[in-house]
Symmetry: C2
Subunit: 449 residues, 2 copies
């Protein structure tokens, strides 16, 4: 519905661009996108959404039709609209690779480009990076709560629109989910698709047993039966009764799904019914208002659940549906810049993050400093685009998944707790601190230096 | 990015459809979409998103490329994929007109179509209706908090993806917002666009005064200056100093914008600085972490603010980022259906809502009953599509805005409080209750008659 239009931006980007155009302010500007602080429920974040940013920058252009419309609004000068028609992204991008663990104030992405280009893209960059980062950062907590379980994204219907459903599925998969219910995500990203039946399928049949039989016959290689439409335990009994006929035909019931009620109690009773009926290989899959906290609670209570469909609370990041993040001008025309708004001061200049590891390979601390201030440690921001061209093709999602898994494996244990806060050490380099102090001392109104 | 693809659905819709196809279950089915219960912070909801649903149903088709891909997955039978290729929406839709005030259990939309069609569209219908309804229902609370103020949607950057930004702007505008910062929403929906400058514009200039002057010159008909980049009160002083030169050229400073700090204190001081400088006609516009509660607090504290930019907390519906809503099978092949899952029982059958008014025109109560049970009162669900064709062109957004304004005007006062819960009376018709009891008595497993 939005078709990747470059008009998906804030009106003020265009009014500012008209100002820059008239003032001939086209020198190089560097902006960095970062998260100011973690929501209380997160100990670390996972970078995601870079690939969509690169595609957006690569395709950036305001079409002739769009330019005609902008001219018709009467809000812009004709020569500026002509300038917009020719605008392309010609800048550089450095970023954390998708799947990188990161912390507040660390740049996720830096854009260095002629000021109008770097400015115009602000809105969509935040829009793309915030959402996927938010979802990946919550999804990975489900992995931490249920490390060896099947985890499937069920979020599409309650996602905030189409793109949230599609990119949310991608973010969950990056974080390590097994798959998604989202068919379009399967087509676009090759994400494994899961799902079998809704209550309506059962209800459309005259009785539950018939519904089970017919479904099994129509989907013999992937029989998962939803058993909570009427009476869950009675339905589990019907599953047991159905099994021998299927077995004779060479098919097996892969799992049953619970979607309501007391999942601890029901999963135990259903497990027992299945086991007594000889269906020890049939799994139990659960869904309905789940997130990492609820999954942890179910497993701690001994619920014999093999997989979880995680939907609404995940795809809306319900406990933190936005991040306090910003895309801020760090440097223009070779001079560092700093915002002083109350409570919103920023670290000036272009920055790099150097990560330090312990002897066993686990994360020790990060050092945030100016880009030119070469330090020991692994530099996290990597070159992604130069002069408007991407330096490498899209990373396979499998590579990103492996990066997440490996980095999570290297996290200090305390940070992996999903119900306790723990802080990772991020140091600020001397060069960065000195620049910030120098600028503070010079004062905001004396920036001519 | 999603391009309106019909594959934006849950995988289980396709597996169920394959079942229906093989069983030849193509009789008429009726599904209703409704909200089970209000979030604690809402006394009523505003229906929104119907126009996008109608467009989706109108355009519904799985393309040849998509069918080829589905076949390649090996998850579906070839004859079923052929069936999908020919699938169109041929059904009927009845719905609350957009902008209608409604309450839990009242159908927002009813789809009556051959079972596969009515089933397939579930995911996207919930996705479209939930989001816009959620945003319109929160946006209208901002109107209630600040009835005579300029209210502008600033949500795009923190929206969950592109479509949330675009349709969120639409939902805010339906609810009565003055406009949006979203340029694409301006182009697609004719929503008035607002916005002037970001901190980066100020920071890119060597000093704030120059930034103000240059911006005024480049945008002389719409001068709104952001004054909190460095020192808010000092910046207000600069605005006063800048004014005479602009006045001589025939221009005036429309407003200043505050985006951080103690907005009550700063707005009062800035108002005083502007007034003493003779800029009594220059307004104060505020933004930054606002929602209806914060707006109400600011105004109650006497903050002299003329307009609000409402972004993150609005576009994410932060206090209720999803609704407990469902799209449930009510009737199949002429027989009513009912779900019995624990805590999720539904009212069976196709329903209508009859609204009753007091003598002064204000809302008195609603009666929810079976569609065929003709009752007094205004029937709220209206025919929208018949045999797959829409009955009327898209309503102008202005019409929907007027509907919201008029219905809000008719709400009982208690329901309009944004910080107190009040309940509206929704009665259940005898015919509906009898059907529900009859079905409960017959029991879920005895649904053959």
């Amino acid at each position: 519905m939005t078709d990747g239009s470059t008009l998906l931006t804030d009106f003020y980007q265009l009014t500012m661009l008209q100002g820059y155009f008239l003032e001939d302010m086209t020198a190089s500007a560097s902006f960095e996108l970062f998260v100011r602080k973690l929501p209380p429920e997160r100990n670390f974040l996972i970078a995601a959404g870079l690939e969509q940013v690169v595609q957006f920058l690569n395709d950036l252009r305001i079409t002739e039709t769009e330019c005609d419309w902008l001219a018709e609004t009467g809000r812009f000068r004709p020569e500026f609209v002509d300038f917009l028609a020719g605008l392309r992204f010609t800048g550089d991008v450095d970023a954390l690779p998708e799947g990188t663990v990161f912390f507040p104030n660390e740049p996720i992405i830096r854009v260095t480009a002629p000021l109008p280009e770097a400015q115009l893209v602000e809105t969509r960059l935040i829009n793309l990076i915030q959402f996927q980062t938010m979802i990946a950062s919550k999804a990975v907590r489900c992995l931490l709560a249920a490390p060896n379980k099947l985890l499937v994204d069920f979020g599409l219907r309650r996602a905030h629109g189409a793109e949230a459903g599609l990119l949310g599925a991608r973010a969950c998969y990056i974080a390590g989910f097994t798959g998604s219910s989202n068919v379009l995500a399967g087509q676009r990203f090759g994400i494994p698709m899961y799902g079998t039946m809704a209550h309506s399928y059962i209800m459309a049949h005259d009785d539950e047993r018939t519904a089970f039989e017919r479904f099994a016959r129509s989907q013999p290689d992937d029989i998962v039966l939803l058993i909570d439409t009427y009476d869950t335990e009675a339905a589990a009994g019907k599953v047991v009764e159905l099994a021998p006929a299927l077995t004779r035909q060479g098919y097996s019931i892969k799992a049953v799904r619970l979607d309501s009620g007391d999942l601890v109690m029901l999963s135990k009773r259903v497990r027992s019914i299945l086991d007594h009926g000889g269906l020890t290989a049939t799994g139990i899959f659960a869904s309905g208002d789940l997130d990492e906290q609820e999954i942890a609670r179910l497993l701690a209570a001994g619920a014999p659940i093999d997989g979880f469909g995680v939907g609404t609370r995940m795809i809306t990041s319900v406990d933190a549906p936005y991040f306090n993040c910003a895309y801020k001008l760090q440097e223009y025309a070779g001079r560092p810049r700093r915002k002083y708004s109350q409570g919103k001061q920023t670290w000036p200049g272009c920055k790099q993050v150097f990560r330090h590891y312990q002897a066993d390979g686990s994360l020790h601390h990060d050092l945030l400093t100016l880009e030119g201030d070469r330090q020991d440690g692994e530099p996290l921001l990597q070159p992604v685009m130069r002069s408007g061209r991407r330096l490498a093709p899209a990373e396979p999602l499998q590579t990103v998944r492996e990066r997440v898994a490996s980095q999570i494996g290297l996290l200090p244990e305390a940070l992996k707790a999903i119900d306790q806060q723990a802080e990772y050490r991020v140091e600020y380099g001397l060069a960065l601190k000195e620049l910030a102090e120098r600028m503070a001392a010079a004062g905001p109104t004396a920036m001519r230096d």
